[in-house]
Symmetry: C2
Subunit: 390 residues, 2 copies
């Protein structure tokens, strides 16, 4: 049975403000039969299956858009979008579910499940197509940032495959990232919605800011959970928060509902990243598709280590020297597992997941059964994020 | 005395279509006294001096915008905008002159010469401020593309200084470029003008396309003047063309006038780049701030070599192997100087400069004496571009 863990004093002041009100509200839209509440969301609905056909058409459009360009770049950019390598599709799934969760017209017509063949710079009139464009833009921005981050962090693997920069060289990785960002900007401009354009342009700046924060962190920053939270917002949560808000705005929702959509994306993003940081300790290299302890080896101190350091202050100098001395990585790993670091990081992730749930529950009543089902799916995603093993 | 060279059959079909009509038109706006026509534009007006105060305030705003960020990046990005290293300021000068050339209200009030302190994401109401933003965005996009190109081309010097990637490392160069592009997108979004946003987003894509064309050129491409022209449009002229068009649109000009502004920027950009390519042969390393024959050494065949190859077909294999065999650079240099390559490239540049002049002359009558003076300055720039030695 799914029990929501209420956020408590433990939450280290992590961005908890905006859904404080939402928490106390009783879900006004729940129409499920009695007893239904006791079943885990994840057992009632598969969030990924619910929008799969539409996601497939968005993915196909992404692939074709890149293929319609220039040979070498195609090979490079397609590398990220080809079938089987496109990742968990968490972002587009979340966005299309949010679109339907707030829709008044039921499931999208078959027409919207076909591949939209119009060029990126042509303004799409239909609301659903505009929302699909946001899913597409979000994925392009996400992948572009992965490409540049891989060069910056000198990564060798990504999603279990060789990272693009290893296969094609840094130059192509830079260019392919630039191409995706440029194509995202062109697609965004064609939406002709000033607020949405501003939101998603800001996301690109936030991603860069996050990467810069990471690169330029001081010894003091490295020890700070607040700094970790801020960096995580910029690097992961901003994109999810602002793209969810864009979906709500394009759906004609008022500012208050758009803010709830934003809160959902933000807290889901924070939960997702904290779990990612936990999995770097607990997952196997095979399941993760990248070496475990990758963060420690890169000198990054994430939530598990930062919590562990509160119990084992001998970790502090290791964090400050970015685990560079011989044996540091092993010592840090040992101390993390000898502490409540993993457990407290999981609690932090659960608190964010819980706040994401609150944001959905605070939304005005669902207009259709399909909208209700999609809200359940949004809740199911928060569970999936917490329980995933890769 | 300045004689306009009319474009002839020699022009290798380079993008000559759009101002064909303009050419035959008599300048309708010229109000200068008799005899004035015989004086070179460049002797009548210093285009750079005419807008210097306003350019200074735009540059100061650019510097402050970068300084308001994060320490390491500031050092990196400021590197390009600090006094003395900001280059020729050709683009912002051209743009503010274009704004005034089409204005009906005379020179900008003193208010507009002060530094605009509003954040990038705040919509500026005043027409002149919006036009200044385009100058700022254009410079940010230009510098960002230089930063990434330097990493991609592994350049060591730029503007006579060590290139950013040499000083701070490739990672910071990538990030700083990303930061500028992101900031440009945020600034652009705040203009809230769909057409302008689309124009300048397309420019970013064109710049990437140009770099990709260069990186992925086939042996056949390398021999082709048409390919050279296309690449030059994407890498240099698109930014100048579309930013000029944006200035006209923000100035409330109709589509036909905006197109003339576009044509001016495009032909000036093409002339500028062809001259740049000539200077790589004729300039000294000291004046250029970079080693002469840099293009040949990088494997690039530009206009002088391509024209020379029409007289000396023995150049063709050297071009195709990107001057990689021992002695290739010296042989190519010798054959270029033994041919009319330099002369024909200069003619090509002059033809484009002449078409830029035609575009200005085809504009509707200037509304004020100041507008007239700024049109003269736009013409003077076309001369400067042809006669510059660095």
């Amino acid at each position: 049975m799914f029990k929501r863990s209420k956020p408590g004093g433990e939450v280290i002041g992590l961005l908890l403000d905006s859904v404080a009100a939402a928490q106390s509200a009783t879900p006004p839209w729940r129409l499920a039969p009695a007893g239904w509440e006791d079943v885990r969301y994840a057992e009632r609905v598969d969030p990924f299956l619910l929008v799969k056909a539409e996601i497939d058409s968005v993915s196909e459009r992404l692939r074709r858009g890149i293929l319609s360009g220039i040979p070498v770049l195609e090979r490079a950019a397609e590398y990220f979008f080809k079938l089987g390598a496109e990742g968990k599709r968490l972002r587009p799934t979340m966005l299309l579910l949010m679109a339907s969760a707030l829709s008044t017209v039921g499931p999208p017509a078959d027409f919207f499940l076909s591949v939209d063949e119009r060029p990126a710079n042509i303004h799409p009139m239909e609301q659903r197509r505009r929302q699909q464009r946001v899913a597409e833009i979000t994925e392009m921005i996400h992948v572009a940032s992965l490409m540049h981050d891989d060069v910056i962090d000198s990564a060798n693997t990504r999603r279990g495959l060789m990272a693009l920069n290893s296969v094609f060289g840094n130059k192509v990785a830079i260019l392919a990232g630039d191409f995706l960002l440029a194509r995202a900007s062109v697609t965004l401009a064609a939406l002709r919605d000033s607020e949405v354009i501003q939101l998603l342009s800001q996301v690109i700046e936030d991603l860069v800011t996050g990467e810069i924060l990471q690169m330029t962190s001081t010894e003091e920053d490295l020890l700070s959970l607040e700094f970790y939270a801020r960096k995580t917002f910029f690097k992961t949560a901003s994109l999810m928060a602002n793209s969810c808000k864009a979906i709500a705005l394009l759906g004609g929702q008022p500012a208050a509902v758009a803010q709830l959509a934003h809160d959902y994306g933000r807290h889901l993003g924070l939960a997702f990243q904290v779990v990612d940081d936990v999995l770097d300790f607990t997952g196997s290299a095979l399941a993760l598709g990248k070496p475990a302890l990758n963060d420690l080896r890169s000198g990054l101190a994430t939530a598990p280590v930062l919590f562990a350091a509160q119990e084992h202050p001998e970790l502090l100098p290791l964090i400050q020297r970015k685990f560079r001395s011989a044996g540091d990585v092993d010592t840090a790993q040992r101390l993390v597992f000898a502490s409540r670091g993993i457990e407290r990081a999981r609690e932090l992730a659960a608190q964010h997941a819980s706040l994401a749930v609150c944001a959905v529950e605070a939304m005005p009543p669902a207009a259709t059964t399909h909208a209700l089902q999609c809200r359940d799916a949004l809740l199911a995603i928060t569970e999936r994020v917490l329980t995933r093993s890769k």
